[in-house]
Amino acid sequence: MLQKPRSRGRSSGHAERVRDSSQGGDARAPRDCVAEETPSTSRGSGGSQGARSSSPQGARGSLAAPAVGPRTQKQLELKVSELVQFLLIKDQKKIPIKRADILKHVVGDYKDIFPDLLKLAAERLQYVFGYKLVELEPKSNTYILINTLEPVEEDAEVRGDQGTPTTGLLMIVLGLIFMRGNTIKETEVWDFLRRLGVFPTKKHLVFGDPKKLITEDFVRQRYLEYRRIPHTDPVDYEFQWGPRTNLETSKMKVLKFVAKVHNQDPKDWPAQYCEALADEENRARPQPSGPAPSS
């Protein structure tokens, strides 16, 4: 939806628009009345959906004392809705979402209840869409969405082949990194990829610009870490797994992929297999959950 053209001198700030609607500036008066009535009845039964029934109800109760003027139930729901949609769209680009951006573009003067808003948004994202909102690294104040639904091959078909072929290249690089001991020099990566017909300087039919993909796009999306190795001449860089990789996949999954490619068993690489097992055990241990924003 576009903002209504206004003659104000200020640039079309989102926070400004939000203030308009929060002051009851909704032009749709009849809908407002209906919507105000339905929450009490349909929300009642809505509260019984799934195991998360208590949190929305409980959280709503605790949102009753805001710092900036009284906010209605509807305003809060609208705010959560905005936040959910913002996170969904931003995540489509696979770039981690900064807390500062969320505050600036969506939360605005609801800043005081930001942690609650985020918790509600996370709950909705999980229940309705099947996405888990996680912080990329503890205290990083950046977030990504993890799909709790397993990707299925036929999805690409149904998507009309809009799927990402670049994932294949990423998996190869992730496999390489893991098998070589969790870190690998860039020169070694290209040595390997050359054998597959992928070159840093040549345009690739499927991957386009492989150098840009690996050293820029995957890094920006936080799948890879790319660091300069000091005192190297000519300059060389090293690759490691990025924080998103650890959240979206695991050493065991990557090892299984490598094994499949070689038509072998993961156990054929005992060192990596042990490492992957240890990683699985680590993951099974209960972690501190939730996207709890560090304040």
């Binding site: 576009l2 053209p5 749709r28 009845t41 729901e77 809705s81 869409f129």
Partner: protein, 266 residues
């Protein structure tokens, strides 16, 4: 919206996968949606009977209600194909477009939108849109860049391009109808039959009322002497064919008289 007697539905992984896939596409034709629904059942719940699409979607919509979004069904203006998209119900600043495009790009869209709404045919020429490039808010945009941005809008299914002219994609109409009616109450056109927003259509040359092409097709079906529903004058335009879901299993452009309809005066 729904009355208070509605019970909120339950989401399962079948519904979630469906919703995710619909979001990826932005907008889908009905037969694609049905195929996608079957696919989701196959993945998560092989043995279950596939719900009737309408019930399936109503179930999801009852859950989406608290988020002020819904899966909306519409019909393409040129050949009456049913389409589905996830749309915003609340008029707020955060939307799919606002987050995807820069300020000057959004303003370009706004300018194109205004030209489209003001036009008689529902189309705005590329030249006319590009001539407004100097008036855009935000970073300065050259005409060359604006051409690319317009193509981006087409790729993302906000605009349709035909022979150098642009009109709104069915997705944009679904998503923005309310916004358009509120923002341009004086220039907006409404269909006399279905009372929804009208961008492309036919109009009576005597009294000026307008109708969507699919609405014309349905209203005058098997009528040898079509007459204006308002002033009863002879209806001067060629009556298009109704989209028949049974006859056409294939997606894409129906063999309908697309070109001839476009070039007609309204």
């Amino acid at each position: 919206m729904q009355g208070s007697a509605r019970r909120t539905g339950v989401m399962t992984d079948v519904h979630r996968r469906f919703l995710q896939l619909l979001m990826t596409h932005g907008v889908l034709e009905e037969w694609d949606v049905k195929r996608m629904q079957k696919h989701c059942y196959k993945v998560h719940d092989r043995n279950a009977t596939v719900d009737k699409l309408e019930d399936f979607i109503n179930n999801i919509n009852s859950v989406l209600e608290s988020l002020y979004i819904e899966i909306k069904r519409g019909v393409t203006e040129d050949d009456g194909r049913p389409i589905y998209a996830l749309v915003n119900l609340a008029t707020t600043s955060v939307s799919k477009m606002a987050t995807d495009f820069a300020e000057n790009e959004l303003d370009l869209f706004r300018k194109a939108l205004e030209l489209i709404i003001d036009s008689e045919s529902g189309f705005a020429s590329s030249t006319n849109i590009l001539n407004l490039v100097d008036q855009l808010k935000g970073k300065k945009m050259k005409k060359k860049e604006a051409e690319l941005v317009l193509q981006k809008f087409v790729q993302n299914k906000w605009l349709i391009e035909k022979e150098g002219e642009f009109t709104l994609h069915g997705r944009a109409i679904l998503e923005m109808e309310q916004y358009i009616r509120e923002t341009y109450p004086d220039s907006v056109k409404i269909c006399n039959i279905c009372h929804s927003l009208l961008i492309q259509g036919q109009s009576c040359e005597t009294c000026g009322i307008r109708m969507h092409l699919p609405c014309v097709a349905k209203y005058f079906r098997s009528n040898a002497e079509p007459r204006c529903p308002h002033c009863n004058d002879y209806w001067p335009h060629e009556i298009p064919e109704v989209f028949d879901p049974e006859k056409e299993r294939e997606p894409g452009i129906s063999k309908s008289n697309r070109k001839s309809l476009r070039s007609r005066r309204h």
